[in-house]
Symmetry: C3
Subunit: 145 residues, 3 copies
């Protein structure tokens, strides 16, 4: 792996983004405990009673952030891996991964921090740019081979 | 990559399916704007007021289509990549990927177009066939090695 | 593939976990039919009438189990593949994959079987341990190369 420097760079960002998703999951659990808002009756009973099986706006916000991560970070893990097989220059590859990483990091901060619109949407859009770029490069390389 | 022709074929379908998922996300955003139905208060405020933080049946339909894509297309990206490492014939591999691709394309069209049941369910089931086939071939190859 | 024994071991667990996710999807569909609770009007109409477009607690439970699988099993597929490229010992690799596999299997059983808290949460936490371990090993290897 470590002989392909773009791939080595990619797996760092991929692993960091997965850890970022795990952090959102942990935050969701903490908000559930703090707000006493559980999805399952067995969890509610354990934490005080069935009345705590309920929805909470802050919990739902965390879940929306997590779902948006799945919609975008998981496809990036595929596109980035295939893109590295095209042997891009390290600088071009690093730029793609860094823009995606920073865009997704800002997306999470804007979502959980309730930053004013359209910061979150702009972060989402910026992060999509390297994804579209990689998808196009993959299709061009594979279809022209 | 491009020396393994099954893999080259796979990444084309994988990238196309990811782009298809991105299109569903873009449609979701357009429906949110057109129906003025936002998940977050900050988005609703930006587009006219807190009364537009609300659910909409068409938005939920887009979100169900997207979620079903995640449930099925993302595992395909794993199964297809591993399956290519088994060095299948290009024709067999192409048949697997094409059936999945067309099944998922029809699934999206049936979902967003509100086609009558059971078109969407049949499309889902057809797309699952190559996935089960690849999973079985992977398990047989790995366990018999 | 089959020359890297850790990778061969990984793809077996990866494929089994994907099949496990497919089984949750099939169970969800069966519960929808048995409880007559459909997400889409076209499905409800086909099965007796629009009054069956409704939420059901057992269906939602299946969907939560499936979503949690996506949040955790799909990132594992990335981490495990990259971890195998680090050429871990077969025993260490097998231990990582087996703990994750058993943790996720127990998670599904606890979720669908409505086992008392905190069995499901403990299963989730146990399964996260090898994921964090692999993420750290990937970051250390990639950043020190």
């Amino acid at each position: 792996m470590l002989h392909n420097r773009a791939l080595s760079c990619f797996v760092v960002y991929g692993a960091l983004l997965i850890v970022k998703m795990y952090v959102v999951a942990i935050i969701t659990g903490q908000v559930r405990l703090r707000k006493k808002a559980f999805a399952n009756p067995e969890d509610a009973v354990r934490h005080g009673g069935l009345q705590y099986q309920r929805e909470d706006e802050d919990v739902e916000r965390c879940r929306r952030a997590h779902r948006n991560d799945m919609e975008n970070i998981l496809p990036f893990l595929f596109l980035g891996a295939v893109y590295c097989m095209l042997e891009p220059s390290l600088m071009a590859a690093h730029a793609h991964f860094l823009v995606f990483f920073l865009g997704r990091l800002l997306h999470t901060v804007a979502y959980l921090g309730k930053l004013r619109a359209p910061i979150r949407s702009v972060a989402y859009s910026i992060a999509q740019l390297p994804c579209f770029s990689m998808a196009v490069q993959i299709l061009v390389a594979a279809l022209s081979s």
